[in-house]
Amino acid sequence: MRIDELKQKIEGELRDLKAEIEARDPNVVNIRASRDDVIEIARRLSSIGFDHVKAVTAVDRGDIFEVDYIISSYLGDLSYYLVNLKISLPRDDPRAPSLVEIWPSVLYQEHEEHEMMGIYFEGHPRMGRKLLLPENYEGIPPLRKEFKIKTEGIDYGG
């Protein structure tokens, strides 16, 4: 199917939910949604045939956090297309519902974005535990823009 057909199919599926759907050639469909609708959107996308999540990207946009789910399918024609499901979260309340019940493939990725960006995924079984960072790490989540990388040994000033 062509990308505009896919876009129409998704629009039809998500008709009653507030979602901005945009198609970018050649194979990406962006869906912008609010965090309240995301679980229902995920369920409906899963029923169309999108069966796994390739990547979860959390972006620090300054006043908001954005969580991008890059979703696709392993089987059939849909495997050519990527659906980019974007959620915006306010900076002072970075909580989002976890999609781990619908797509278990997000387990480790949401965990990583939780510890790197400080976003709390409600319903995720491993919130609070460290995955990649050292166990005794305390401080700003490293991927936030306020965390500046320290360079060592470069100050030549005596």
């Binding site: 620090d60 890059i70 278990p104 493939s105 387990l107 480790y108 790197m116 990649l132 960072l133 490293p142």
Partner: protein
């Protein structure tokens, strides 16, 4: 009076002959594993954070390094995403050269995984042979790119070097050598009754679980899911070459090993087609070629080694975001770059196949025996630095 403690907690930790740079926390009841939790992060080097402070071309070696043996996949996926942002396409000869290097890398990455798996189940012969047979491929790569393992060969707009003279004959010699060796491998290792007893029926991954958990690469294809990025969203020269997607039905460790072995055969087929059909032409996009100063351009044309235009030092990508995926030896590499018009990306997301396969450790070892842990670990071809990035 405390209850009798039957369960032993075994820390197959970073200091262990067969654990790699990670820790497996295993709870064992007798000889049976009741729970296995992978503890990763020992070699986390924060590639994504560092990439926000480096220039676009400096990020090429940065994203290559975590995924040693299969560096080309990361290099290619990153540059493809960057080219989507820049809005350029490499010339045809460069696309074929990218495919050539990607397939050579796939072969020696599979041999690496097979060798490590061999020594984990006790066959030092498989280990030595696999690593010895990687040598011809590493030397081929050295002739083509100048480096044995971390090539940094693929740059935005094309590739860095052209094929040297006589390269096609050398490649053919190496391919014939590898085909001849396959029979020995089957005689001594793959058809060895002890190997079969250790690997068959061990760590069975059912098809629904493979899809649901998001497994990638040969682990997915061994569970009868015919997904390969080279067919799903063809890139480089893959639309022009013919090859099969190798799948196996059993989903056990032996099936995963067989998928890798047969993929080596498919890669040999692809390399032969690439060498036959490669078109003549430039290896760098014309927008960048015309920016090279004339004296350096003569040098470039005579030696076939690209001289970077000074634009590369401060390459700015337009605002926007791009997603690119590549089928590496271990599985699918996904890059998601968000740019804000500066010389460094605003956000770089790098998802490597080993990171997507970590969940299989927990899932496959339930109810397995202690001796199955290395057998399953090796069959997943998991590389800890690649997962930790």
């Amino acid at each position: 009076m405390e209850a009798e403690e039957r369960e032993l907690e075994l820390l197959i930790g970073p200091q262990h002959p067969a654990s790699g740079h990670m820790r497996l926390i295993a709870k064992i009841d007798g000889d049976v594993v009741t729970e296995l939790r992978p503890d990763i992060g020992y070699v986390h080097r924060s590639v994504e954070k560092i990439a926000e402070t480096k220039k676009f071309l400096q990020i090429i070696p940065l994203v290559e390094r975590p995924s040693l043996p299969d560096t080309t996949a990361n290099n290619l996926a990153y540059v493809m995403a960057l080219e989507k942002l820049l809005g350029i396409e490499p010339p045809p000869r460069a696309r074929y050269l990218r495919t050539l290097l990607a397939e050579i890398t796939r072969i020696h990455s599979h041999l690496y995984g097979l060798g490590i798996h061999g020594v984990m189940i006790g066959s030092s012969t498989a280990y030595m042979w696999c690593f010895g047979d990687r040598e011809p491929f590493l030397q081929l790569a050295q002739e083509l790119t100048g480096a044995r393992l971390t090539y940094s060969y693929i740059i935005p707009g094309g590739v860095r070097r052209d094929m040297p003279k006589g390269f096609a004959d050398k490649v053919e010699k190496v391919l014939r050598y590898m085909e001849g060796r396959m029979k020995d491998y089957f005689d001594i290792y793959f058809n060895n009754p002890v190997t079969r007893a250790r690997l068959e029926g061990v760590g069975v991954l059912k098809r629904e679980d493979a899809i649901r958990l998001g497994a990638v690469g040969p682990n997915l294809r061994a569970s009868n899911v015919p997904y390969d990025v080279r067919k799903a969203e063809p890139y480089a020269a893959y639309p022009d070459v013919e090859f099969d997607v190798i799948t196996e039905k059993a989903g056990d460790s032996f099936a995963r090993v067989m998928v890798r072995v047969r993929e080596i055969g498919e890669s040999i087929k692809i390399i032969r087609q690439v060498l036959k059909r490669i078109p003549d032409g430039p290896i760098l996009h014309e927008n960048y070629e015309k920016l090279i100063p004339p004296k350096l351009k003569e040098q470039y044309k005579s030696t076939g080694i690209v001289k970077f235009p000074s634009l590369f030092a401060n390459l700015k990508a337009p605002e926007g975001e791009a997603i690119a995926r590549v089928e590496g030896g271990r599985g699918e590499v996904v890059f998601h770059i968000i740019s804000d018009g500066k010389t460094s990306p605003y956000r770089l997301r790098m998802v490597t196949p080993s990171f997507r396969n970590v969940v299989l450790f927990e899932h496959l070892t339930k109810g397995a025996r202690v001796a199955d842990i290395p057998a399953i670990y090796g069959s997943l071809d998991y590389f800890p630095p690649e997962a930790d990035r």
